[in-house]
């Protein structure tokens, strides 16, 4: 058990969850006082001792499922001690692991559909588990040894089950009521039950994959990045939703931290007048230095963001974050562009939640002048022409984008002029630094005239940068 625990903690650390030595000891002690045969108990014990952040729980669960779900007994042994630990009843589980498609005692498609329908209708967990097992055998087409995480198999199984028809049958059997509310509730109930089916199928697939390839190998393929480490440009829909959720608390925390930092800087420069006056009481010797109250200069921020398809979500996150902490800046003005440029500052005015304003940008900003492909040169030139005179030595310009200019002219000289006028010009690039200047990326042309080009692939990097700014 101890070595298994050490492996498990190794996996958690690999997934980015910080686990300290003393937490490791706590987990080992917890294992001594709980009933190890109770898998859910073990899960909560390990979660309580090892994970100290609600956002890390999904990553923990993914790792736990792989490490501890899966001591399914080899082939036909049913009801042995191992099955108890795995929490998966082997009852009626058709083909053994690794048998792949087909296998002995397979039911027909109609029988499986019927079985699952009944299980969902009657909320029969045992039958559902059995049905999911059958469905995976029939539809997933598991290929032993293939290094995948199982999403593909899940997709195939669910497609085979024809969820639409299933949902329709469920809806009818549950009987929607006349009222609008009743209908809506029935619909949500069906969705919730289908979700339970999806989870069950997922579990079965994972179990079989572990039996096939072992937990360590599989853990690597199913490892879930922590929300703050997800690459914004390549996030899946699900990850995107997760990021959106992570953003709100993140910006709140950032604002609190910055405000606190500002307050803590207690002293300004030496106040000569006051010091001399104090020195009179000590015979003209300035024993007691007096300081001016601090006047932290709040910077002015100009955000110029590319909102074309490839980097739109990154721009949305950055705008959201900057506006969420706008109290830390004396002024924030936002501009968005694709090949035309438009100011969107007014959208954020008087809105409680920056997310709302960000959502409106797409509909209301006028950013397409020609073909809707990013043209940094044209957009930056437009920004320079219209707004450069508003820049002062207190303004910081943030340009967001991947610098992929679709082979248009760069007009890098306008960035040079912006830098002359402003305090600083930063370029935030959501692409990994390794890809810069490949293909149509002309980031180096612009980078030469910026104070810094910052790689901002993840929320963590973005947060660190914005934190430095204020």
């Amino acid at each position: 058990m101890l070595s298994l625990l050490a492996d498990f903690i190794g996996e958690l650390r690999a997934a980015g969850i910080p686990v300290s030595m003393s937490e490791h000891v706590d987990a080992a002690r917890a294992c001594e006082v709980i009933d190890l045969a109770d898998r859910d108990g073990l899960r909560t014990a390990l979660a309580a001792t090892l994970v100290k952040d609600g956002g890390h729980l999904p990553a923990f669960d993914a790792a736990f499922e792989v490490f501890f779900a899966l001591r399914e007994p080899p082939a036909p042994a049913e009801g042995e001690a191992g099955a108890e630990l795995s929490g998966a009843s082997g009852a009626g589980e058709g083909p053994g692991p690794g048998a792949g498609a087909g296998g002995g005692g397979a039911l027909s498609a109609a029988e499986i559909a019927e079985m699952i329908f009944r299980a969902l209708r009657d909320r029969d967990a045992g039958a559902l588990r059995q049905g999911a097992g059958e469905a995976v055998s029939r539809y997933a087409g598991l290929e032993p040894g293939r290094p995948v995480g199982g999403t593909y198999y899940l997709y195939r199984t669910l497609r085979g089950l024809e969820l639409e028809a299933l949902a329709e049958r469920l809806r009818q059997s549950l009987g929607g009521e006349g009222t609008a509310l009743g209908a809506r509730l029935a619909r949500d109930e069906v969705t919730a039950r289908l979700e339970s089916l999806r989870r069950e199928v997922e579990r079965v697939i994972r179990e079989r994959l572990v039996a096939d390839r072992g937990s360590a190998a599989l853990a690597k393929s199913v490892r879930k990045p922590l929300p703050e480490d997800v690459e914004v440009m390549h996030a899946t829909r699900e990850e995107m939703a997760q990021l959106e959720r992570a953003l709100r608390p993140l910006s709140r925390k950032l604002a609190v931290r910055l405000a606190r930092r500002r307050r803590r800087r207690k002293r300004g420069p030496v106040d000569l007048r006051h010091t001399v006056r104090r020195s009179l009481s000590t015979g003209g010797v300035p024993l007691d230095l007096r300081f001016k109250p601090p006047r932290p200069a709040k910077p002015e921020i100009f955000v110029v963001a590319d909102v074309s398809g490839s980097v739109a979500s990154f721009a949305r996150f950055t705008l959201h974050l900057v506006h969420a902490i706008s109290s830390q800046f004396s002024k924030v003005r936002s501009f968005v562009f694709v090949d035309g440029l438009d100011e969107v500052t007014q959208l954020f005015e008087g809105v409680e939640d920056p997310a709302e304003a960000v959502a409106r940008i797409n509909a209301e900003a006028d950013v397409i002048a020609f073909d809707g492909h990013s043209d940094y040169g044209r957009a930056l030139a437009a920004f320079h022409e219209r707004y450069a005179r508003d820049l002062t030595t207190r303004s910081t310009v943030l340009i967001l984008g991947d610098g992929r200019n679709n082979y248009h002219e760069t007009h890098a000289e306008v960035v040079a002029d912006l830098r002359r006028r402003a305090k600083a010009v930063y370029w935030l690039n959501p692409e990994p630094a390794a890809y810069w200047n490949s293909g149509d990326s002309v980031i180096a042309h612009y980078g030469a005239h910026c104070d810094r080009v910052v790689e901002c692939r993840t929320l963590r990097q973005l947060e660190a940068f914005v934190g430095e700014l204020a």
Binding site: S22, D26, D35, T44, A48, T49, G54, A180
Partner: protein, 313 residues
Amino acid sequence: MSLDPRAEVAERLGLGEVPPPRFASPDDVRERLAKSDYLSDAAIASTTFLADRLAKPVLVEGPAGTGKTALAKAVAEAVGARLVRLQCYEGLDESKALYEWNYRKQLLRIQAGRTESGGAEEWRALEEDIFAEEFMLTRPLLEAITAEDPVVLLIDEVDRVELETEALLLEVLSEYQVSIPELGTVRARQVPMVFLTSNNTRELSEALKRRCLYLYVGYPSIERERDIILARVPGVSGALATRIAQVVRSLRELDLKKAPSVSETLDWARTLVVLGREEIGDEEAAATLHILLKYQSDIERATTELLGGRPRA
């Protein structure tokens, strides 16, 4: 493995004997909490069980109104202990959390002493005298440590204090002791159960997290929510409770500014019972939605999404 953690803590505190465990198993936790009208789930029960067995504090995190504070109250009731509560806020300091010298009483003592003939000898005696426990005002943390009767310590909304103040808690949380410069170290006379709650408005320090077990309390599952309604709202029928839980689940699925919490769900259930409703139709829902949702934009959204109609003016 080494010593039982409880025995270790007891030895460090010099308690003489190891106190008996409070709970026999996670199931025992569940049953006894249920008797105090708190319906736990597997995670809550087994974390509480572990907190007792490992003699460690529990950090409870989760959205507002999901029963974090109620958990500490219920545990106190279940183990027959007194609840000592420290409500955190920005600006909380030592003198409000730990202890404070009772200056007035000290002054009175000094004045009373002055009437008698004074001398260096006497002053020394007096000085020893006025820094005795008698002249100390105990605040929640010290009170929990020094209590003779069983206590459960609740440190509520710990995320509201500043990072520096957090450090005050560390000694209490890991060693169950408080150091007072004038008096020395005060050790706990028992191993208290400690709950900390946080709404996660800021990141807590690593040092604090490491000393605690972590419990995330999210919104309950639909079955558990129904049971909570049945347990806490007298006169509610099973069908109505199920219906309420369903509506609330659907509301939480929507993208709202503030999703309805469990306590708001209970308020809603009570309202419906008082109004004598047995059924929730579109009318009833529209008329009482403001109990569940606290933003006008949320109410409008829920009305259009769930009731498929125009919001009422």
